[in-house]
């Protein structure tokens, strides 16, 4: 029997904000993030029968994350692809070739996005490698526990811990001046 769409929708749509945010920080494009979340939610919906747990959030975010990384890999591949034929005759098991072609050139909106974040917190997060970016976003924005972050990222808790430390140290270095003001306010 196909899974009950209304039950899945009820559980999954409340995490749409977190899902979109994670996808956005990983693929760094609003359009792509939207596609990633949609693809991830459809994947999750198809696999929903197999979901046995009480909290859907880490499971759902893990699917979003995996989809985003597949997307990034496809975009990297397509960066070298010039001919449309090569994309069209790509391995059928892979992501749809149309997406590889489409994600090639940054659209005006994404260029604007990048111009707007030359400094400040956005630029600092964007400057981190994706594996650091995701842990800091999941921890500080979504408030996930280490165990949950480990579930989302498929890493051991110790790895989550060290990546988070590296991410914080890196952000502290980049944001140095901003932080001095922030901490003097706080103290």
């Amino acid at each position: 029997m196909p899974p009950d769409p209304s039950r899945f929708e009820r559980l999954a749509l409340q995490h749409m904000g977190a899902a979109y945010n994670l996808a956005f920080w990983l693929v760094r494009s609003r359009n792509d993030a939207e596609d990633v979340v949609q693809e991830a939610f459809l994947r999750a919906f198809r696999a929903f029968d197999g979901f046995r747990g009480d909290d859907i959030k880490p499971w759902l975010l893990a699917i979003v994350r995996n989809t985003a990384y597949r997307w990034l890999a496809a975009r990297r591949r397509s960066a070298n692809v010039v001919s449309i034929d090569a994309a069209l005759f790509a391995d059928a098991e892979d992501d749809p070739p149309a997406l590889q072609v489409a994600s090639d050139a940054p659209n005006p909106e994404d260029l604007l996005l990048r111009a707007g974040e030359r400094d400040g917190i956005d630029a600092a997060i964007a400057g981190l490698p994706p594996v650091f970016r995701e842990v800091i976003v999941l921890r500080e924005i979504d408030g996930l526990s280490y165990r949950e972050i480990a579930e989302v990222t498929g890493a051991a808790i110790g790895t989550v811990m060290s990546r988070l430390s590296r991410a914080r140290a890196e952000l502290r270095k980049v944001l140095g001046g901003t932080l001095a003001r922030g901490s003097s306010d706080a103290v």
């Binding site: 899974p3 769409p5 929708e9 979109y20 459809l42 502290r172 922030g182 901490s183």
Partner: protein
């Protein structure tokens, strides 16, 4: 040096992820070491800055697009998994609300004490039997003919509904306004079906489209409830089409056919039968 060890633990310390022993160790060190206190303060500031950034806002209309994509996926899966056997679906779904077909009535078992004993009675019985056979055969063929026609119609309706779910949009004119959908339909079919706004009852009017069912052009009014799309087909009543509301389940889709004011209506959806009946009652 202690500070190196503390630098590793300070994140988990502020995140409340340390065991009691480590927590005490870090707390004690922080009391003595202004350098590590500054580190903790900086990490907290970093955390506040990132947290203040918040979720990247979801684009306008995204939730709706996501719902639509899920509904379409559900319809496709429904069509694929529901196809092989209709009884299958009912057997695996014991929910009474979703079972619309009346139970099959089995003939009562003949018992020997009811049978007449004399040969005259046997003759009478035989004659009655032959008469009954002829009668029932005639009735049966008439009924079969009629039910075949209805069954074909139901198959047609189910296919049209599934086909529409495979398209990008299950409607050609999108409007929640009955005064938009009705004129659009009237301009394209040779009759004027009624289009009702049922938003107050939880059925959102999405729009209308044309379809081809039972060898004729029909109007379709598309409603949505939660994730379910409901097609309401309408055309001028034809001979042999059900008059009283007659529910059916075809390949797992619920369907109700009925006649009202000279039109045959057919509501088709993957929504449960009880809610479909509610819609039928409103139209």
């Amino acid at each position: 040096m202690q500070c190196e060890r503390v630098a590793e633990l300070i994140g988990p310390y502020m995140d409340g992820e340390l065991e009691a022993d480590d927590r005490r160790f870090v707390a004690a060190h922080l009391d003595d070491c202004p350098e590590c206190r500054r580190l903790l303060e900086d990490y907290r500031s970093v955390g506040r800055l990132v947290a203040a950034r918040g979720h990247e806002p979801v684009p306008a209309g995204f939730a709706g697009r996501l719902s639509l994509a899920l509904a379409r996926e559900a319809a496709v899966r429904h069509a694929e998994t529901g196809m092989p056997a209709r009884t299958d679906v009912q057997m695996r779904r014991p929910d009474p609300a979703s079972v619309d077909e009346p139970p099959v009535r089995l003939p009562r078992r003949l018992t020997s004490d009811r049978l007449p004993t004399g040969w005259k009675r046997w003759t009478a019985l035989a004659a009655a039997l032959v008469f009954a056979c002829v009668l029932s055969a005639t009735a049966a063929s008439w009924l079969t003919e009629r039910s075949n026609q209805v069954a074909r119609l139901e198959q047609d309706l189910m296919s049209a509904h599934v086909r529409s779910q495979l398209q990008d949009l299950p409607y050609q004119v999108a409007s929640a306004d009955t005064h938009t959908v009705k004129p659009w339909l009237v301009g394209r079919v040779d009759f004027a079906p009624e289009v009702r706004d049922l938003a107050a009852d939880g059925f959102t009017l999405l729009g209308g489209r044309l379809d081809y069912v039972g060898g004729r052009r029909v109007g379709v009014i598309v409603y949505k409830r939660r994730l379910h799309f409901i097609d309401v087909f309408v055309w001028p009543h034809g001979a042999g089409e059900p008059e009283a509301p007659s529910p059916a389940v075809v390949n797992g889709y619920n369907m109700i056919l009925w006649t009202k004011a000279g039109f045959t209506y057919a509501a088709v959806s993957d929504m449960n039968g009880a809610e479909l009946q509610q819609l039928q009652g409103l139209l």
